[in-house]
């Protein structure tokens, strides 16, 4: 075939392709729209039932009605039902969960946890996160080591939503190892477990893995585990990892215990790493102890930007001694902090004037 001949064939093929894709686009749009409209029409009555149930309608037959809805209609209305789960809590939520459970969503999901496709496994984990119970926790915990990272992430979130304390240990362990999960996601899930998980989380403070210790510390601060304050102070003083010590400082600020003052002041000393000193300064602001005013004032002229900045901000939160220290200083950071304080005062004042 000559080049010219080949060109002719190519033109023909391109023409066909152009028409083909044009047709596919148009037909695709028509078909999808028709399907969407059909689904909406089908789902409409069921959706009304759903809204009434979510709104807490007293009608006792509502749950039965929704359970009795046929499979095709349920398929059309299921996304709305799942969305509704995320919007309500309390009795309304329990009622919705019951509908899912009685329709077998839970059992199907438990089975799909072992599906071959990772998307199916992830979807199943998501469903269990929505409607699962404590009984589902062991199976989900197994999936924390799934080889697909997306599945692991969904499992962590699901465990957080179910919020059963038995998941605490395995969650912490999942931050390390051959199939790790990002620590912030684990931390968020643990926070949802709340103080019930405190013991397990505190136990992880002795874990050889740096990430596990750091995550544990972050969580303890966020759940307000005041009982673990001593261990956190110890971590601040003597842990070998800077990441862990940073978290410890942050957590001490959040916990707000009196014993935190001394180790935080120590962590601000000039020979410590600047990141730690800044974090400690910030934590002292959260602590709000007036005794920290002088040491913080000394840092206003520190060479490290972040240290001086955090010291100034912290002084704002120490009441009168803090303000005095700031006014006495001629550091630009002090001026910045005073500027902010003035702004906030003006805002509060304006509100009072508005009469609310």
């Amino acid at each position: 075939m000559t080049l010219a001949g080949a060109a002719a064939v190519a033109i023909g093929a391109l023409l066909v392709a152009a028409v083909l894709f044009g047709v596919v686009t148009v037909v695709g749009r028509l078909v999808r729209r028709a399907a969407r409209n059909r689904r909406a029409r089908l789902a409409a009555p069921a959706r009304r039932l759903l809204v009434r149930l979510a709104a807490g309608d007293d009608d006792e037959t509502l749950i039965d009605q929704l359970v009795a809805v046929d499979a095709r209609t349920w398929k059309a209305v299921e996304p709305a039902a799942v969305a509704m789960l995320g919007k309500v809590r309390g009795e309304a939520h329990t009622a919705l969960v019951e509908v899912f459970q009685r329709r077998g969503a839970g059992t199907r999901a438990e089975r799909d946890l072992h599906a071959r496709s990772p998307v199916a496994r992830a979807r199943a984990a998501e469903v269990l996160g929505n409607v699962g119970t404590a009984d589902d926790v062991p199976q989900l915990v197994d999936l924390l080591h799934d080889k697909d990272p997306d599945v692991r992430v969904v499992v962590v979130r699901a465990l957080g939503r179910i919020a059963h304390p038995s998941a605490a240990g395995p969650l912490l362990a999942s931050t390390v190892g051959p199939t790790p999960v990002p620590p912030p996601l684990v931390a968020h899930a643990l926070v949802r477990l709340g103080l019930a998980a405190q013991v397990d989380v505190a136990a992880a403070l002795d874990d050889p893995a740096e990430l596990a210790r750091a995550t544990a510390l972050e969580v303890l601060g966020l759940i307000g585990a005041v009982g673990s304050a001593r261990q956190v102070e110890f971590a601040l003083r003597s842990d070998l990892s800077i990441e862990v010590r940073l978290r410890a400082a942050r957590t001490l600020g959040r916990l707000g215990t009196r014993g935190a003052l001394a180790p935080l002041l120590e962590a601000m000393e000039p020979d410590r790493p600047p990141a730690l000193r800044a974090e400690a300064a910030h934590a002292l602001g959260e602590l709000g102890a007036p005794a920290a005013a002088q040491p913080l004032a000394a840092l206003l002229t520190d060479a490290e930007y972040r240290v001086a900045h955090e010291a100034a901000r912290a002084l704002l939160r120490l009441g009168a001694p803090g303000r005095e220290a700031l006014s006495a200083s001629d550091s630009p950071h002090a001026r910045e902090a005073i500027g902010i304080a003035d702004l906030e005062e003006a805002r509060r004042g304006a509100l009072a004037v508005a009469g609310r």
Partner: protein
């Protein structure tokens, strides 16, 4: 052999080479489209359990500083900023850097948000030369807005100043006229939340805002623009931004994150020294520099393109401004490739060095030259008698026909994934624009792009460019 024979052979060979080039470049687009489609499918299948709501509620979601460099943006700056302040994200701040505007940009902001000056210490972590004249925040409302006035120094300088002032661990660089989808920050920050140790930069899809109705900084209705010049650009954006970038991201070779919307880890940007004042494509250059630095230090990292439409930009609606833009873009590519030429075909830089950069040299940088050469060589070849006219016509039909088919495939993929243009009229316009692109648009932009490359060589003085703002809603 006579000279005439020699000339004829020369034309024949060149023409075949040029045709071959067109075939290869369009086939590469096809390949990228296939990859991108796979990525979209994956993305859409993952959406039911993406967990954006949880990300919104988590106290540990990393905070974002949105940096908005502004120069003479008075017509849109207020709605733009309002839109950004209304973004759905747990922890973020908006920093507008007024780079010495000579119009009412600052005044409009000051009036709308009741700005007052506040003393602020500006760290100097990355180089910024224009002097900061003042830092302003809203007087009474606690909105997370900071407006910085500084001496004019160019977009790079404005962004670097913003980087210095940014307080959050992630920085998002947007254009002052960008309109962001409310979930935009959540979508592009998600890779950072899901893989915080490795993700270093993410970008999202940028779309054309012209013709869409905008209310208070949010896109309310998506429509094709009025002007054919802009309609063609819509198709272009779909093909290049949506499919090209997504495809490359799946290959692990994402080279350019659009300057109109990119999210970066602040500490790494500081580590590599911020944006480069000497490069006109400063946003793209930053990404290449990040690749270089991270591969050299052998760190495990990812640059991710998020396959969700997140940002809408006003595309040039006049030939003059379009020409400016294309010259600037291409000059940017040329400068970046030159600056980082040590990386090209260098195995030390993995897929970036061996795949992405050489591709950019051959199929992006040289593309306009080859296209222009084709426009000249083929008619010349016919005239000289080296190439017969029928072949020449068929040649052109194949070259442009293939490009048209690629565009149509892009439209099909768009229809089956995001389908943001619901009106049938708009679909028809997009199809027509796909064809129109080949009837003059590409040729003229090829000329501009070639000029851009030439000016990179000549190293002429840069101007950020004054794009006359026409505002968003064109007359219906």
């Amino acid at each position: 052999m006579t000279i005439a024979d020699w000339v004829r052979d020369w034309f024949r060979v060149t023409d075949v080479v040029i045709l071959g080039y067109f075939v290869v470049i369009n086939t590469s687009y096809l390949f990228l489209i296939v990859l991108a489609t796979a990525e979209f499918v994956r993305h859409l299948r993952h959406r039911p359990f993406a967990g954006l709501d949880e990300m919104y509620r988590s106290p540990l979601t990393p905070g974002v500083s949105v940096l908005v460099p502004a120069f003479n943006e008075e017509s849109n700056i207020v709605t733009s900023v309002q839109g950004m302040l209304a973004l759905r994200y747990p922890q973020f701040e908006v920093i507008v850097v007024d780079d010495g505007s000579t119009d009412g940009t600052f005044e409009r902001l000051r009036a709308e948000f009741d700005l007052v000056e506040t003393p602020r210490v500006v760290p100097r972590e990355v180089p910024a030369f224009g002097r900061v004249l003042g830092v302003y925040v809203p007087r009474l409302s606690p909105e997370p807005l900071t407006v910085v006035r500084k001496e004019n120094g160019g977009k790079t300088d404005a962004l670097n100043t913003g980087i210095n002032l940014a307080r959050q661990p992630l920085i998002c660089m947007v254009d002052a006229d960008s309109i962001l989808d409310p979930q935009a920050l959540l979508a592009v920050a998600k890779p950072f939340a899901d893989d915080p140790l490795r993700t270093v930069a993410t970008g999202g899809v940028v779309r054309v805002a012209n013709g869409c109705s905008v209310v208070a900084g949010r896109i309310v209705e998506v429509r094709m623009p009025q002007r054919w010049l802009v309609r063609v650009q819509v198709v272009e954006y779909l093909r290049a931004f949506l499919l090209g970038r997504t495809g490359w991201s799946r290959l692990g070779g994402l080279l350019i994150i659009s300057g109109a919307f990119g999210l970066f880890r602040r500490d790494l940007v500081v580590e590599v020294g911020g944006l480069d004042h000497n490069c006109i494509g400063e946003d793209a250059e930053l990404v290449v520099r990040l690749h270089r630095h991270l591969r050299r230090t052998k760190r495990d990292y990812r640059v991710v393109f998020v396959a969700e439409p997140v940002s809408w930009s006003e595309a040039p609606s006049t030939a003059r401004v379009l020409g400016w833009q294309r010259r600037r873009w291409h000059r940017g590519i040329a400068e970046i490739l030159w600056k980082h030429r040590a990386m090209i075909a260098n195995p030390r830089y993995g897929r970036i060095g061996l795949l992405a950069l050489p591709y950019y040299v051959v199929f992006e940088l040289l593309a306009p030259m080859v296209e222009l050469a084709g426009l000249v060589m083929v008619p010349l070849g016919v005239w000289v008698g080296a190439v017969d006219a029928t072949f020449a016509i068929r040649f052109l039909l194949v070259a442009y026909g293939y490009a048209l088919v690629v565009n149509l495939i892009a439209l099909t993929v768009e229809e089956f994934t995001f389908a943001r243009y619901p009106r049938w009229k708009d679909l028809a316009l997009a199809t027509a624009a796909s064809a129109l692109e080949n009837l003059g648009f590409r040729q003229v932009t090829a000329f501009w792009r070639a000029m851009g490359a030439w000016s990179a060589i000549r190293r002429s003085r840069q101007t950020w460019g004054v794009m006359t703002r026409t505002g968003f809603n064109e007359a219906p």
